[in-house]
Assembly symmetry: C2
Homo-oligomer: 123 residues x 2
């Protein structure tokens, strides 16, 4: 029996924290949110600033972040079209604890790199 069908019988994610963390822990979401922190950005600006995200994934990621209330999407009916994304209050509030994590990563990435190096050497 495929996983898809099993999921139908699970009424809801049992742990709301996992539900939230699964969303933001998807490789791109946090990066998009951090990129929006300085201010409003357009689609292609996000593409350029992030650098190695595909259009499809950026599109999906933005859509989910909008659904979850982290960002707003504003369409200006011009030609060529202009679409602007910016953080909501919720998005900003999320980045507060996230920044603590980023600070940790910044402080400890050297330790981690050394651990990896030791592991290689120790083999």
């Amino acid at each position: 029996m495929p996983l898809q069908e099993l999921k139908k019988f699970e009424p809801a994610p049992p742990c709301p924290i996992r539900d939230v963390l699964d969303r933001i822990g998807d490789q791109w979401s946090v990066l998009v949110l951090l990129t929006l922190r300085p201010g409003t950005r357009r689609f292609n600006e996000l593409m350029r600033e992030i650098g190695d995200i595909s259009k499809q994934m950026l599109s999906r990621t933005l859509k989910r972040l909008e659904q979850d209330g982290f960002i707003t999407r504003t369409v200006y009916p011009e030609v060529p079209p202009r679409v602007e994304y910016s953080l909501t209050e919720l998005g900003h509030s999320f980045l507060e604890p996230m920044r603590a994590l980023v600070a940790w990563a910044d402080q400890n990435h050297r330790t981690i790199a050394e651990a990896r190096e030791r592991y290689r050497g120790g083999n």
Copy 2:
């Protein structure tokens, strides 16, 4: 040209923070670390407590976390074998900012769920 070959020419991850966050933002790592927070666990205990992780992914995740210095792996040469995993100092220190994020998720998951609901309704 496949991505694999391109990566050969990139000397190192340009952003150490992304490097760290990519590792821990992989769906399972944080969950494993949180499960180890109360104390030492064995392989199958982790399987049971996490519930929906496959053996392979648990194995891989533990291996990487060990490489990066977040956890230690202790093998007792018994039969049947016994292997214990526990957090290092680094692992514990990582969970500190992480707990802030978990607290945020706990406080805001309702808001997020409502936003999702509104989105569905608004369509």
